[in-house]
Subunit: 213 residues, 2 copies
Amino acid sequence: MASTTDDKPAPEPEKVAPPTEKAAPEMEKAAPPPEGPPRDRFVVVDVFLRLLLFACSVVAVVVMVTSKQTKMLGRLPVAPFSPVFKQAKFNHSPALIYFVAALSVAGLYSLITAAVSFLALLKPSCSTKMIAHFVIFDVLMLGIVAAAAGTAGGVAYIGYKGNSHVMWNKVCNVYDMFCHHVAASHGVSLVASVVLVLLVILSVYSLSKKIPK
Amino acid sequence: MASTTDDKPAPEPEKVAPPTEKAAPEMEKAAPPPEGPPRDRFVVVDVFLRLLLFACSVVAVVVMVTSKQTKMLGRLPVAPFSPVFKQAKFNHSPALIYFVAALSVAGLYSLITAAVSFLALLKPSCSTKMIAHFVIFDVLMLGIVAAAAGTAGGVAYIGYKGNSHVMWNKVCNVYDMFCHHVAASHGVSLVASVVLVLLVILSVYSLSKKIPK
């Protein structure tokens, strides 16, 4: 567009070619300023989502780990009629142990990748390879976190409703606080899964933006 | 900044430009032969993986649905001492119902996307957008299938081992065939999750191949 004001007396056939040729170097020079902001924006959103994933993972793990609840279930039928206490905690269930392990790994992963992504903000190079690797690891992490959320959800549902067919009684009528913790932690893990999906979509979007039309 | 370079070396870009312009049509002519095979290979592998996902989904659903087992648990203690039968089937557990629903959706999805991918093999256009969309849907499907595998796995583990803390007895010592079906179905769903991860990696690889260095 700028080249139309440059040369007036030039013949017409040459006029058509030079603008494109001139436009090319101009584009090359002009490229960093317009391309910079979207890339930066992508990395900023990427870092933000990774920190959000870290927050979700930490919250899910902390809420699950602090779910311990002790209840007095009754008293001994004989003297001295001492009370009977029973505890519910997450490590009574292998499913919830897996949940805590998976979310801990996700938290560590999100912290490391947030740092890498932040460094990429300062040093804008090797970005295509980095994004491709991010997608692969994000997808693997999504598989782990979604499976953990599913596992915890499945067990929590039995705890909440029971299953009369196999005589598994519900426990949430007794350990209410424990169940609230498990439910909250499960909800936060679902948010973590959604954040991982968003991270993959963002990476794929930024990859496809780099492909010439 | 651009105006300082325009005045003197104006002819140079024109000299430099023609070879590139000549090179461009050559590239265009030369492009189809080298670019064709890898793209085709990508689509062939993509179609193969989607058909594999379809097979996994169908097998997982069929094995789960046919897991019904009836067992004689004893006889009535009073005359006529008739036998007591009890059934175990997947729809006694909401987790396994969700599993069947999720894998059915994955099967349908894989069939549709295999058809779309196969059509892309015949008509090589709009591929970048298609791949980007495939990645997004594959990631969503991975979340659903991984969560379903986790849910079924969590419940199956309780059925296999029980949980003494909450008095949930194991059922696999009674319903052995039912448990074998659930375990097999769960294993196949894990393969389906791995296939979905491979699909995403393949798509990202083919996207990053399109990006000029």
